[in-house]
């Protein structure tokens, strides 16, 4: 039984964007990890970034600064 937590989940147009996001977040000290994109978020079988919900503003700023375009961004329990 896994306990779900309020998370900010970002999906991408390409796997390379997901990898770049991991690099950017690590460099910025943002908590989170790559996960398989949740099925309820997308029919695509890509990779998503999942971080604590409270990191959302910093995460959005980091992605903007790095020029990474998110396909979708949602807060949900994960």
């Amino acid at each position: 039984m896994r306990r779900r937590q309020a998370s900010c989940i970002v999906t991408f147009h390409t796997t390379a964007d997901a990898m770049e996001t991991e690099r950017v977040c690590r460099a910025a000290g943002l908590a989170g990890r790559l996960i398989p994109a949740p099925r309820d978020l997308t029919a695509d079988c890509g990779i998503a970034w999942c971080g604590p919900a409270e990191t959302r503003p910093a995460l959005e700023a980091a992605l903007r600064a790095a020029g990474v375009e998110a396909a979708g961004l949602r807060e949900q329990l994960y």
Binding site: R2, V68, R74
Partner: protein, 370 residues
Amino acid sequence: MAKKTKQTPEKTSWLGQNWLLLLTGFLVGAAAIVLNLLGNPGNMGFCIACFERDIAGALGLHSAAPVQYFRPEIVGIVLGSLLMALARKEFRGKGGSAPALRFGLGALVMIGALVFLGCPLRMVIRIGGGDLNAVVGLLGFIAGILMGLVFLKKGFNLGRAYKQSPLEGLAFPGALLLAFLLCVTGLCGLFRSSAAGPGSLRAPWYAAILAGLLVGALAQRSRFCMVGGVRDAVMFREFGLISAFGMVILTVLLGNVILKKFTGFSFAGQPVAHSDGLWNFLGMSVVGWGSVLLGGCPLRQLVLAGEGNSDSAVTVLGMIFGAALSHNFKLASSGDGSTPNGHIAVIGALAILLLVSLVLSFAKGKEGKK
């Protein structure tokens, strides 16, 4: 792009998360057993590579008489995915992500699959049927996926897909449906059809299309994908997808035992298979590596094509082209073993995969990040 928060239970069990995948695995295995009973070749209730190879033959793209038949299962999978995507409002016309490269990679994947004699789905069906050659293929498949993942982590990128018109997304499923209707209504006598060999072994068309529809719809809903299963297990320690393939093996194994068709695990004497271990391994390495770069196994490409992804439709066309190359130039194996031309083609395919992986991982320009 932000969406409203969706409320879900705070706790979730593994089974609660993955029941649909397990159900899909069970029904895919059951469909393979039933189609085999109704006439499909041994351990080939479902095989995306073999069926696309048969379609290539039916269209006259190769002249190998034993493997020509317009397989309704392929049409069913694409249409099942399309119907499920439409029902769930997930149909999207999109494309434009390196179509020429995808066509070529699709051809390479097919060449590797026909050296092994099966796609990843048939590989697990063969394991369930007691074919140990498929276990060798599985090891090669995993090795190929691991190679591909190395480059994915280095930033391998075929480029993003863009929104297209719904008509673009419907073109491939529509063409398949039209060809299928021409076949079953007898209006088209142009398609070739095997009188002997694997292409002549077939379930009735209505059973085949129904099984395809079921598998396509479930695979769309669950995102059933062998490559994704290994990727998730290796990268994220998530085992839901790969468990679905364990369920296929278990279902096929139990089905064969119940029907008294299971004669134990062995390398020799397996239907539509050979025992050249090295080439089984390397052939499936090509399939695994190429499929990772393409973002999904051959079954997944059909499902994505049904969802409106024209890049996947191009990939499927590349696979059909690869099947034609395989039989026209004697690259494909047979029950007697692999061929010298097949060996050269597999080595060449691995070299091309390495080149493409290196170029698109390390030589990216300013557009590389997009």
